[in-house]
Amino acid sequence: MLTTPSLDYNLLAPILIVLGGALLGVFVEGFVGRAYRARIQIIIALVTTATAFCWVISIHNLVSQTAAVDSVSIDGGGLFMQGAILALAFVALLFFTQDDHFAPQASALPGSQEEAAAVLAGVQMTEIYPLVLFAISGMLLFPVAHDLITLFVALEVLSIPLYIITGLARRRRLLSQEAALKYFLLGAYSSAFFLFGGALLYGFSGSLSLAMIRNAAAVPGANHIFLLLGIVLMSVGLLFKVGAVPFHSWTPDVYQGAPTAVTGFMAACTKVAAFGAMFRIFIVGFAAVQNDWRPVFVAISIVTMAGGAIAAISQRDVKRTLAYSSITHAGFLMAGIIALSKAGLTSMMFYLVAYGFATIGAFGIVTLVRDSTGEVNDLNRWAGLAKKSPGVATAFALFLLSFGGIPLTAGFIAKFSIFTAAYASGNIAIVVVGVLSSAIALFFYLRVILIMFFKEPTDDTVTVAIPSFLVTTGITICFVITLVLGVYPNLLFNLANTMTTLVP
């Protein structure tokens, strides 16, 4: 007899809406004239993410284990991550609207006649938008997935579009394509690790469900060798996605090569999705054997914090600097998982939002700083930026101060709360290394501020493009959120605190 599977469409709607928007975007690519495509695509993307966000809000206090035949669990923790991803993605999409980020024709060889023709025709790849929506749908599924297959599918759905759009930068195309290839190859390896880990976990527990794996792990005296191997391999896949040392080497190249607007989106949203999934997997599935994996995570967190901060010191490229800073932040965020407590989850949620908006804002500003050939990422040429456009320099300084965790910015509250959670769970070493890495990291944040504010502008100093209305809106949103959450954190923290339910 065949029973139809029960799907709770109400709970899955945010994911489905985004998928629907992506499919609509594909149709638009096929049937709408070139002249209108970009405009229609951006409207579809923004409306889709906004609708999905509203839907998440409307279901924010529902809890279900059986939304999609036990493979998706809808709960406070998952919905918060979904809401965060959608809000961040919406703001990130605002920066996509400047019309010269993306390659005119991805299939044309860099420097070829076809490319020149495409440039002359004034076209731009608009497939970006459906691809981003596909990636978002994967990101939405990742933190709520409750079995190994769904996790893997979500991981791939979020990754593959990102590999493609990484290679679509309009300028420095070779660099961009190299980054895409690197990202794809390493990403494929890490996915394979993830999958292999999943297979071992299935072999250990006889089930794909995280709940069953937890039950099997909790049996005293069982042989845990496959469980532990599975955890290790799966962690490799996850740690790759968040860019933790020693799986971080793609981060600087990809952040540098990808179109800058995409980098902001990728840096903020992927982190939310991956850390959301990681928290669920480790707290729901592997909490019983925490004594086995926790020390390893502590070590990785420590080398990630310190490694990212130290490597960033010598960077001269603003995107690479931000990439290394994101590695450091991945280390800080791991402290939330290691705390393995409600406080850890709350502070991680807050951290992800605070970091996400500052990151999107910072990369958004990078898209504005240019010379005649395009974006200028060389920090030395940012000298005296504050004199030319004090507003942009001030906003960038605020985002950097937030990364550095200076009080009265959201980043400080985030850092404080996540360190408190780690300290309260007894991981004092993380707190000590964390503050020391913060001190090192501050050095390069402050150096950028110094270059912008205290260096005299030179002849080849760059100009700041007049931002469009949408871009200005995007930067303003990020600026206000970074400041307001720093001065009055209750707004988000109380919400995060009430949304820490995770179905077992």
Partner: protein, 501 residues
Amino acid sequence: MNLLTLTIVLPLLGVLGLVAAPKENTHLIKLIALGSSLVTLVSSLLMLTKYKFGVQGFQLVSSHSWFKVFNINYAVGIDGLALVLILLTTVLVPIVVVGGWNEAENGRWSVKTFYMLILVLETFMVGVFAATDVFLFYVIFEAMLVPVYFLIGGYGRGDRAAAALKFLLYSLFGGLLMLAAVIGLFVVSIHQGPGSFDVTALSHLKISHNTQDWLFLGFFIAFAIKAPLFPFHTWLPGAAKSATPGTSILVLGVLDKVGTYGMIRFCLTLFPEATKTFAPYIIALSLISIIYGAFLAIGQRDLNSLIAFTSISHFGFIVLGIFAMTSQGLTGATLYMVNHGFSTAALFLVGGWMIERRKSTQVEDFGGLQRITPVMAWSFFIAGMSALALPGLSSFVSEFLVLIGTFTRYPAAAIIGTLGIVLAALYILILVQRTLHGPLQPGNEDTPDLNWREKFALAPVIVALVLLGFYPKPAIHVIDPATSQIMAAAQVTDPTPLAGK
């Protein structure tokens, strides 16, 4: 609104006024800045009418929930210790505005930005002394660095960007260590009931000896960098050399006091056991500061660095008084903070005017000023005498109290400390001789004397120096209850005098 909160907020209202003011009208901008700092001064003086003298504990308290999950409050209140330092702040800011009337003109940014930064800084400075919530204190402690960074880097001289960066990195590093300790303290308080950041509640915690030691160090190093105590002082000379006189007055006169204030408020009261453990080492460091700072001051050729090094020596005295842990020592140290604020203000004001006129910071470029600019020379002389703690000027009282207080517990330390006084005479008298007396250096012939604005700015400082020198009783009367309360919290009593010895 609570009068204390009003005093904290008033400078911010001035900032709003400045935002509205047109950028070109620098005169109006300066008047707004002066006006709001004067209103703040009046508001802080009004606190004296509400303050109950001779009573222990925090007064004019007010508390509002700020960050609920962690039970963090906007909690402010003052005791004698905080009161005198807040008054020092609110008195010095208008003096800085008047005294450095033209110092923002040659900055990297507009005059408007300069006074906005000054007023924001004033809010933070009053707030940091008023905070009774450790988290609030920490937030302000860190946030106040940002305006100073831009004040030094944007309006200073010479290698100002590097000096500003060095200052900021040093302070932030200390701040981060303190953050770890603040978190640790909070976690301890969670384990012993509802978590809290209230400084009074935290002082009742039972903290194990080992934990105390670590937390103490986290706080102490942050404060020692701020104070600055040897060997954490190396940022100061650069900052003082590069900053404008007004900024220097605020940094050395008020901001650095946050360090010594923090030692008293947090190190002593929250970690009494650890304080006893580390006191001998800290006293050794403070003695090194006294002597080392004095020797380096003798050798300086740059007027601003010289004043900075004298401050290192004086901060040594303050720390010595704090960690001697006697009531005279503590009262003396607190009084010293106020007196040092005024005497540094006088030195930097007059020194700044001399530099402004001569366009040089080198001591050897001056000379013979006594003859051409008698008022300026006498002012500088008085400021110098106060720095060497001449009896009759305020520093003498506090230095004397510190040394007596130290002698009852650590006689050897007091004797070594006394050497500092001798060296102080040396560096000040050499400075006075080189700048004011002797043959007139070429280039100084047409130096104008102090004008009315400058006299007006300096007069209150000189009055304070003389008044507190001859009649320190009211100040001591305010400080004493706070001192005895801190002594009780630190679980120490004065050593009994050894009769007949």
